[in-house]
Amino acid sequence: MAVEIGDKAEAECKSNQEIAVTRKPIGYVIPVLRLLTFAATLSATLVMALNKQTKTFVVATVGTTPIKATFTAKFSHTPAFVFFVIANGMASFHSILMLVIELFGHKYDLKGLRFVIIPVLDIFTVALISGAANAAAFMGELGRNGNSHARWNKICDRFKKYCDHGSAAMLVSFIAVLILIIITAISILKLHKRNSTSYSTLH
């Protein structure tokens, strides 16, 4: 009799342990995607912030001596690139913060607020980064092709390294936009599934 009760208690204890083990699975898709976003936005920020090229040109020739002038191309000359650097910095901070919350934040109970705040912040960051990446891309396109109707000359034929580094940063930032949209979609679908299944199991 005591053995039976003991067996039953042991079986129940084991099943409880199994439930406790399988209750909190950590999905690896979203943290990996957030790590990729962090890497992408951080590299875009750094590459664009350190983007600088100095070149000397022959401006005029007085007699036989050429007059040289030094021109610098920096990211801070264009407001769109400044916005690009700041927005990508904020997005990398957001990515690392969300990653830390998702991996180590299970201890703190925010009464279900956490599951809403994360998609909302993701939506804000998607809008910010898409605006920044696109503004920088169109500014870069203006620099590469110029605009003959407005008499704006292109600068990329003279500052090739500046343009190449800038376009690499923009490309990586566009990849970050894509990954952030995927993360937002998965978060919203997970929110829907979490709410619908938790209430269906209660009844």
Partner: protein
Amino acid sequence: MGCSVAIFITIHTTHIPFVPFVLVFSLIMLKKMMSIFLLRLLALGATISATVVTLTTHDSRHVLNLTFKASYSNAPTLRYFVVANAIASGYSIIVLFIPSKNSLWKFVLISDVIVTSMLVSSISAALGVAQIGKKGNSHAGWLPICDQVPKFCDRLTGALIAGFVAPILYLLLVLFSLHNLINLLSAKA
């Protein structure tokens, strides 16, 4: 004729501060789906006006032997602005006709996020280029063009304001829809 125009303008400028109050009041008091419908309708109006105003602005000026011709097709940024707002307005019209309590609404939420990011990107790029057109960029040797074609610049300012209001309304729409999604699901229990 001048009197009637003046009266018209004064009536409408005194009504303008009331519009946000009416909007907030209706958003709080109406049912959730009605306020989402109203927001979408307003965003539709904003995107359509941004598209149409940008499409119809053109100005040209002959200075000696130079001809400054300004139109939306001369700047790739403004072309993207027109296309993005046209896509967003078409999407709004289609979504307005989806009946409520359909299972499509969670996918509508995700596509709302994508359309919001598209509108934000279009207005951001258009403002970047418009800032160069107004102030110029001395480091690159780009002169401002707004004093050459003032009519184009003024009308484009109006279109950019409409294009700026549209993604704000879409962002509010996404937040309302998210809140609606969570409340709807927790109200099932």
